[in-house]
Symmetry: C2
């Protein structure tokens, strides 16, 4: 069995795919549900389109900028912990060597068995710090451009997803009729998106398609009932 | 220096705190921005309250159920990779031993230095699989109740956050006046929430407070301008 093959089997979705999934899951669901909800309360599609576009603007900025700040905060957290480990490796090496040993003792290894690894790491401070970051703290080094790319991808995916359920309300005057078209278009989009998402993240794309459509339907149903109850 | 002290310094936010942050960040921002946006387009607070409550219902269900499905999918991914590692440890142990060695060679260690660890792990298949899950694949074992707790926490936090900016529109008849009160109340809430979030996730609570308020203001400003432009 060739090595490359073996490595590739452990496929995990790339960060871009994950960002698109984050943005589009909510983008297809919330503006759809809001428009459906308002269809139960108002007859004019003008207000539904206004509310829908305002929601898409708010949602894409909130999710995109939120993602940006979260990624920046991750990067700062990593840098801070890295400086701390560098300091400790230099100032209290015995204690840090003991921490390396502890990582392995959690897997039932004895102090003697891990001694060669502990000693070898203690002679390479840079690799030692990297090792502690990943294996003691479980932190991965964030990529530098990550925050900006992530923000634009999440925000763009939210906007793209949110415009799909809103289109019928722009071109059809009756809110009730637009709602029916919006439901058909959005359910199709949710099924396709859920299927593709399932192909990337799990081995069950059909179940993912149904689950994604179900979440959208439940959100829209709840919004519809609430809007109708109070109007 | 006592050990417990040393361990505690590497503080990371608990999963519950993270879920509350996820739900409340969007909950305080999107319904606030939607209501502000509609205030620029309609005079009646009744429609703003209807749209706001519909959005809160849709958003909390979409985020809560979305979180539930994501956590379930993580748990399934972990279980699947675990079965794969168990199979490989049993069927192709030499290749798996080589993979353990590879993990360490990435840190500049030699095959001889890691041999005792590789050999010791190969005699404890359960610990070996656990080791591969964490150190080769970088996966943490998800807690069993995680999906349900996470869904309820995220959805509840979204709902709690979303009701704050909406209250003024319920009690004040003029949309313009309600908007001013909503801005004051929500900015205060965003600053407090951002500060507390900053205490948990970074060392800079004041900057976090300002950033969180800025995201909310930008989202609301964009929603307001878009709604006013099309109405």
């Amino acid at each position: 069995m060739p090595r490359t093959h073996h490595t590739e089997r452990h496929f995990t979705a790339s960060e871009t795919v994950r960002d698109i999934v984050i943005g589009m899951s909510d983008g297809l669901t919330v503006p759809f549900a809001l428009a459906a909800g308002l269809s139960g309360a108002v007859a004019s599609t003008a207000i539904i389109v206004t509310a829908g576009l305002a929601e898409i603007a708010a949602g894409s900025i909130a999710m995109g900028l939120g993602g940006y700040l979260a990624a920046k905060s991750d990067a700062e957290h990593y840098a801070k912990e890295q400086r701390r480990e560098q300091k400790e490796v230099a100032e209290i090496p015995e204690e840090e060597m003991e921490e390396v040993a502890q990582v392995f003792r959690a897997y039932g290894l004895t102090t003697e068995q891990v001694a060669p690894v502990v000693n070898a790491l203690s002679k390479r401070p840079k690799a030692w710090v990297d090792f502690m970051m990943r294996f003691e703290l479980g932190l991965e080094e964030p990529k530098p451009e990550r925050a900006r790319t992530s923000a634009l991808t999440i925000g763009g995916a939210y906007m793209a997803g949110g415009l799909i359920p809103l289109f019928p309300y722009i071109f059809i005057n009756s809110a009730q009729e637009a709602l029916l078209v919006s439901i058909a278009v959005t359910l199709a989009a949710l099924l396709i998106f859920g299927y593709i998402k399932g192909r990337f993240t799990t081995a069950k794309p059909l179940r993912s398609a149904l689950e994604t459509a179900l979440v959208g339907s439940l959100a829209a149903g709840a919004a519809f009932l609430i809007a109708r109850a109070i109007s």
